[in-house]
Amino acid sequence: MLAIYRKEMRSYFINPIGYIYLGIFLAFSALLCCYTTIVSATYSTSQYFIFLVFALIIMIPLLTMRLFAEEKKLRTEQLLLTAPVTLTGMVLGKYFAALTMYVAGVLISCINFLPLYIIGASESALEDGSKLTQIGPITGQIVGGVIAIILLGAALIAVGTFISALTENQLSAAVITVGVIAAMVLLSVVNMLTDSDGQPIIANYVIRYVIDWVSVLSRFNAFVNGIFDFAALLYYASLAFVFLFLTVRVYDKRRWG
């Protein structure tokens, strides 16, 4: 497993894809952070994290499209499948490599919050010492947001890994992954849509409840507001587990084909 993990990490940086991913992710998150906080004159980062989720629709496939599709095309999977490595080990090795890249991107992008702290510090200095209200970003909210985006990403990477194992072509893996993740994310947007009277478009409460339960975004909000939602953690973890399990099954099934 470790060998496969290391190989995947190396291949992210032998190929331009690792650099492209980090570059786009960092540039986009910086731009987003600037517009949602500084330009909007707010210290709240909740908007930033919500918008970042939509960026993931494009970013996650960049990480996952190669994982299995490329191995299948080059026939190198034969090497992995005949090596003394379990299928689970192989899938997890690849999954954790993609996850590492993702988490690295998210953590590096935390420097985006630095300007907020600096502005916050200079503004509280102007308030000549009155300590009644705290001026500046709320660290708890930021930490919650980072945890949430990592959890959500972990689940979506598992989805992308699964789709990559089903296809033989990087491009089709990427396109399908974009579609599936977009559907998962936009499902909750449907719930938020309202008509001109301010009534939700989907009037039936039961349908809204089900969509809300399935949607990956609805569980995101608590974190973004600085509340650690254990149920959501469990939700994202089990989503990741289910798709990784399915990926292993895909390979197991193929052997019996």
Binding site: I4, R6, T82, T86
Partner: protein
């Protein structure tokens, strides 16, 4: 070392491997011979744990590949039909990755050096695999199979697409490996197994047709009955004489010419050596024999002869005879066509000669 018992593999309704069983002793080099689609690769893929069998058992050193896949896979080095190379890695990175993947315990530096020395890829060690030629890629693939010094090495068509010099090098390499490894290699080239293997397993349509020591198969192969002869003499008469000679199953004229000699393909009846008889017959009529070349048997012929030999039931003999009869008719058709060609060629030459004489005459005028 390797034991396969009643192995069956079905793909839907198609049966790729149909109840095959064989054993390979430790230190043996076994050649897996068969036409494309005979089930060679499938058997090898099952043996290496890439595919699962529908039923039956495959054991490596007593370990069932289905029961304990990791234990069995540790003992195997496998070079699939298409070498599984990561084109964007250097040879060094690739071999190091394999070293880690196989959980190798040997000293990394000296072991990888030894492997590179064996397959002679030292000079490309730091190059990216994408930039290597086919021969070098194949060797890197072999190096990959050797990493970890596995007891069993399996090569699936290791010499396909290589130039003759590389083929010989790789064959020598495999023969060298046979000293302290058990090797299975698959091929559809007969000379290859003859040159390299101790034992030959011939497989056709998912079934084992023969499983013999190489010497025994070679005996069948070398007992040649087909010759390409060059005889100087009038073609039609020579051909008629050849047909008349007892012991010749059939003869045909080939379009090829060598001066005033024509080429003929003849096949003797089983069990009779017609070479001397042919010589005396030709000498009697003063048609010089200017060349004689034994034609190798192709795989199909070997299948037929092997089947004829191994299945001594009457039914098998009958089908074999029918097959020969059918071939006889086909050969006659070929013969007639080539005769036609010869006549046409003759006519053309005569016309050319005639026109040449005409021009000469005109020149003289």
């Amino acid at each position: 070392m390797i034991k396969i018992e009643h192995l069956v593999k079905n793909y839907g309704n198609h049966c790729a491997v149909d109840d095959i069983s064989f054993e390979v002793e430790s230190g043996e080099i076994v050649g897996f011979l068969g036409p494309n689609g005979a089930g060679k690769s499938t058997t090898m893929n099952i043996l290496t744990g890439y595919l699962s069998s529908t039923s039956g058992k495959a054991m490596i050193a007593g370990i069932d590949i289905l029961r304990d896949p990791l234990g069995a896979k540790k003992l195997i080095g496998y070079l699939p039909e298409q070498p599984p190379l990561y084109l964007d890695m250097t040879v060094e990175e690739y071999l190091n990755f394999n070293y880690e993947l196989k959980g190798c315990k040997l000293d990394r530096k000296s072991h990888l050096e030894e492997v590179c020395e064996t397959v002679k890829i030292r000079d490309v060690y730091h190059r990216v695999i994408r930039t290597l030629s086919k021969g070098y890629r194949q060797r890197v693939g072999i190096a990959q199979a050797l990493v970890g010094n596995p007891k069993v090495i399996i090569f699936d068509e290791p010499t396909v697409g290589l130039d003759p010099k590389q083929i010989i090098e790789i064959r020598n390499l495999i023969r060298g490996l046979g000293k302290d490894h058990t090797v299975i290699l698959s091929t559809h080239i007969l000379q290859e197994v003859q040159a390299v293997c101790d034992r030959i397993v011939i497989i056709n349509k998912g079934k084992i047709v023969a499983n013999e020591k190489t010497e025994n198969i070679s005996h069948v192969v070398e007992n040649n009955r087909r010759f390409n002869v060059k005889i100087a003499g009038p073609q039609k008469e020579v051909l008629a004489a050849l047909h008349g000679l007892s012991g010749i199953a059939y003869a045909e004229a080939l379009a090829e010419r060598d001066g005033d000699a024509c080429s003929y393909m003849i096949e003797s009846e089983p069990g009779s050596d017609i070479r001397k008889k042919l010589f005396y017959m030709l000498a009697e009529r003063s048609w010089p024999l200017v060349g004689m070349e034994a034609l190798g048997m192709n795989l199909e012929d070997i299948f037929i002869s092997v089947v004829e030999r191994s299945e001594e039931t009457r039914a098998a003999a009958v089908t074999a005879r029918q097959r020969t009869a059918r071939r006889g008719r086909r050969d006659r058709a070929v013969l007639e066509r080539s005769l036609g060609e010869t006549l046409y060629e003759d006519a053309k030459r005569q016309r050319a000669e005639a026109s040449a004489t005409v021009t000469e005459e005109e020149d003289e005028d």
